[in-house]
Amino acid sequence: MDWKRWSGLVMLGVAAVAAVALVACGDDDDDDGDGAGTASPTVAASPTQGQVAKLQIIDPRARDTTNDVSAAYFTVKNTGDATDRLLSVTADVSTKVEVHEMVMEGGTAKMQAVKAPLEIPAGGELVLKPGGYHIMLMNLASPLKEGQQVKLTLTFEKSGKIEVTAPVKKIEAMN
């Protein structure tokens, strides 16, 4: 199955839809309240001289859930001039946390741990969002409820550990 091409095209299509809708309509139907831009970014600078990764963690959030698994999402922005990598994540609510990706094989969705640490290129960003990369939170002691807060500790290759607080939000839309 040519799933890479399939999912690539879907994503491209989605991007096209999003772009056109955004430009033309200013549609205000979205009530997913993901609050992008309202979260205060956490900044960490790499201690090494010369090539430095400067990371900002934007809009960390976790999904509310009814069982013992959930997902957390955020965007990592790198305003430095060196690539950084997300090596691992821990959470105070979960004993088992993994960085996962959703891959398409034909029309089948498969969730799996990422094969290599995710990169945040110099001047670029890494986006974790529904239907793409996500932080898989397993073995939750109790289901996450809206309004609760999850402490995430992100460990980066260059920038070291960055702690963020992710509010638990109502499950958000694909948009």
């Binding site: 033309a24 009814t66 088992k96």
Partner: protein, 213 residues
Amino acid sequence: MRTIRPGLVFLLLALAGFAAAACGGDDGDEGGGASSIDDYLGAQVTPFFEKPDLVLTDTEGRPFDIRKDTEGFLTILYVGYTHCPDICPTTMYDISEVLKTLTEKQRSQIKVVFATADPDRDTPEVIRKWLDHFDTTFIGLSGDSRQISDLLKQLLMGTPQRTDLGEGNYAVSHAAYAIAYTKDNTGRLVYPFGITQDDWKHDLPMLVNETWK
């Protein structure tokens, strides 16, 4: 195995962009379906899906005959699992949100059916609790592994593959699209992963009245 043609999905999603650009919000059309299947933003499947001929168990523990008990309704069928942290809840949430935007009359003609690909963990109780998070009217179906295999075979979805995540956790592969069966019991459109609430909002009011004449 039938697959969705990628080019088509792209084309349809691009069309979604143009529709959104035109701001054509004629959701209130109660007169009939679309003038052409191309007016829909869902991805077309040829040949179309038949409704599964199978009796599973609903969340009250009662037998649910998929064909008989959805007859006469626009039926949205999605196969997933409740321990799916990402695209299953996103899909169910998107559908539940869009249903809230429909008229009562439109809403009353739609049944949303979730069937599990993970019968070992998804008991009727587990499914009910999960679905209630989105919409208490959503129908949740489970069965023994033989029945679920039968369902997936009829839907040409293939056997779910388990990915071991350690400590008793596992992920389950499943179809990344919802099938929309119109009232004539044909599933000519699927809504693949990536479809947005606006796309659903565009299609559902037409699908409710669709006769494919």
